[in-house]
């Protein structure tokens, strides 16, 4: 409880206090300014940021799904087939994290550059038009988010899979289950805690991300994280930035409760 108080409640309390302030930098006063919340929920046309909120959840959702689809087969192979090499492959998954987040994202500027190999190949096979580009598109931003959060999905699923007792699969085989059936009836349900943990660890920070949209996107790809960053650093409008953060957190918490209700809380603890 002490931990929770110091690292969560106190900062949240201060943020909430700040979100109800008004005034100009640096002279803010507490005035129960609930209009800070109301004003930002309008659409962009009316001076609010609703589109960026929706876009953030959509991008985070797509990236989480992509991470799941990409990570599961990989860690399944590592857990069951890699044998003595599994630690090495786990290292490969984690290795990009030895480089700072910013530099990892900047690397994509080179990978997806117009004169780079990826775009050139795609243009040659006519997937992209002759002037087509990958950078500064929704594809680039979502790919960047997927890449950056991939280990957060992969490692929890790996932990779940690794804990599956191989004898259960043997038993399934003995009871005439095909490998596919065994997967769906035994492996997948037992890895559910890992999947749930992975999706949470990926979706929640991805929804608040701003680095990928900043470097890899145009104004039409900006996420709510970019709005909060601009409000905080450029506009020096701390109350609005705090209100935006609270709304983001509140929405994620509601989504989390719904998610927990759907999957059942036993899955969270395994």
């Amino acid at each position: 409880m002490l931990w929770l108080a110091i690292f969560f409640l106190v900062p949240m309390g201060f943020l909430g206090y700040q979100s109800l302030q008004s005034g100009d930098f640096p002279h803010f006063h507490f005035t129960w300014e609930f209009s800070n919340y109301w004003n930002v929920l309008h659409s962009n046309h009316d001076g609010g940021y609703r589109e960026q909120y929706i876009r953030s959840f959509v991008y985070a959702g797509i990236a989480t799904a992509a991470c799941l689809v990409l990570a599961y087969p990989l860690v399944y192979w590592i857990a069951f087939r890699a044998g003595p090499w599994r630690n090495l492959f786990l290292l490969f998954i984690v290795a990009p994290f030895f480089v700072t987040y910013l530099v990892r994202t900047l690397a994509w500027l080179n990978i997806l550059a117009n004169e780079g190999p990826v775009v050139r190949i795609l243009r040659d096979v006519h997937v992209l038009g002759p002037n087509g580009r990958l950078l500064a598109t929704t594809f680039a931003v979502v790919s960047g988010i997927t890449y950056n959060f991939f280990p957060f999905m992969a490692l929890p699923i790996y932990v779940s899979l690794e804990q599956i007792d191989a004898r259960l699969l043997e038993a399934a085989k003995d009871l005439y289950a095909s490998p596919t059936r065994a997967f769906f009836r035994v492996t997948l349900p037992l890895s559910a805690p890992g999947i749930v943990a992975g999706t949470l660890l990926t979706f929640i920070p991805a929804a608040g991300d701003f680095i990928n949209a900043y470097f890899l996107g145009t104004p039409n790809q900006q996420m709510i994280g970019n709005v909060i960053q601009a409000k905080f650093l450029q506009s020096l409008d701390y109350p609005t930035a705090a209100a935006l953060s609270f709304i983001l957190m509140g929405t994620i918490m509601v989504m989390l409760l719904v998610y927990a209700r759907i999957v059942g809380t036993e899955k969270l603890t395994g």
Binding site: L2, E115, N131, A136, T218, Q222, A230, D237
Partner: protein, 385 residues
Amino acid sequence: MNQAMTRDQLLRRGAAGLTVLSLPSLLAACGGGGGGGGTSSKPNDVLNFANWPYYIDTPATLKKAGIDRPTTLKQFEAKTGIKVNYYVEINDNPGYFAKVEGRLSQGDGIGRDIIVSTDNDKFLGEYIANKWVQKLDKSLIPNIKNLIPAQQHPPFDPNRDYSLPWASGMDGIAWNEKVSDPVTSVKQLLEDPKLKGRVGVWNTMGDTLGLVLLENGDDPAKVTDASFNRALARIKKAVDSGQILKFYGNDYAPVLAKGDLAATMAWSGDIANLADPHLHWVVPDQGGIIWTDNMIIPLGGSVPTASTYMNFMYGPEISAQWALGANYISSVTGVKQAAENLDPKAASNTLTFPTSQTLSQMHQNDPAMLTSKKYEKEWLAVQGQ
């Protein structure tokens, strides 16, 4: 597997962990920079100077300019015996402001005697209006008489009590000849279909809208709602049509060099520093914006030490060497003649020593536009923020 910890053990270990984790920040709070600062009336032995990257002459750049002398920093240290700690830690105005405003707003020093902030953004005005800077000691800066007339009464510091120019630069248009024909006007930049999706502009309002205001025939030094809306509409149209690829900070130059950008709004010094023969920079047809980065002395800095340094940099010969090494524009009278003595070839570089004809095409931003909350919100909205 898990061993259950008793509550007692958890509390003890948690407290120990917290103590260990908070030690670095406690040490940092006590540290506060490499000595110096303070309230004495004599210069210290140390000057702590925070600046932007590529903003000072280095042995490498001096060699390239053909100047066989120690750097201006080294010459200062030799002449005055004051050691300079040069921190290249400013990358943009809002980021650095956010870093220091916490301490300055409490009246505390930041461990620096001089910091540098730009006049065509709102933060320089914020430092001065909030009284987070100290007055210069002009008795220690006799060379202040060398300040060019155009810089003597800026709107944010009409009597030059708090600031002195460090470097000026010009806003213009750059293009990469490998992927584009010459681009010489903002109209072409924003509307030429051949450049679609490969055009860059800045994310700073003063720079980008300043150039568009000029293209519209409006005065960037006196912005009205109508002229602002006209300029903003033009940028919005270019965003919606896909003409503009991105709103950049410092980072457009390598993208232009690589060819992902065909043409972009660009700062004169960046193109000079890249020295890539395929990149060209021009003043736009309808005029450009000139901005100045200013030295200010934050709270807690040593006024005599900082003033002594400023006086040194305002000698024409030293300033000429700095300009040739840093490739930015000096505000010191007589700097071009002094540069010709050092290196006649380099002194003919019109990006560093603009002709009076070029300077006559330059304009400055309206500070009221830069500090207006309404304009700022609309500017951010065009960027999707």
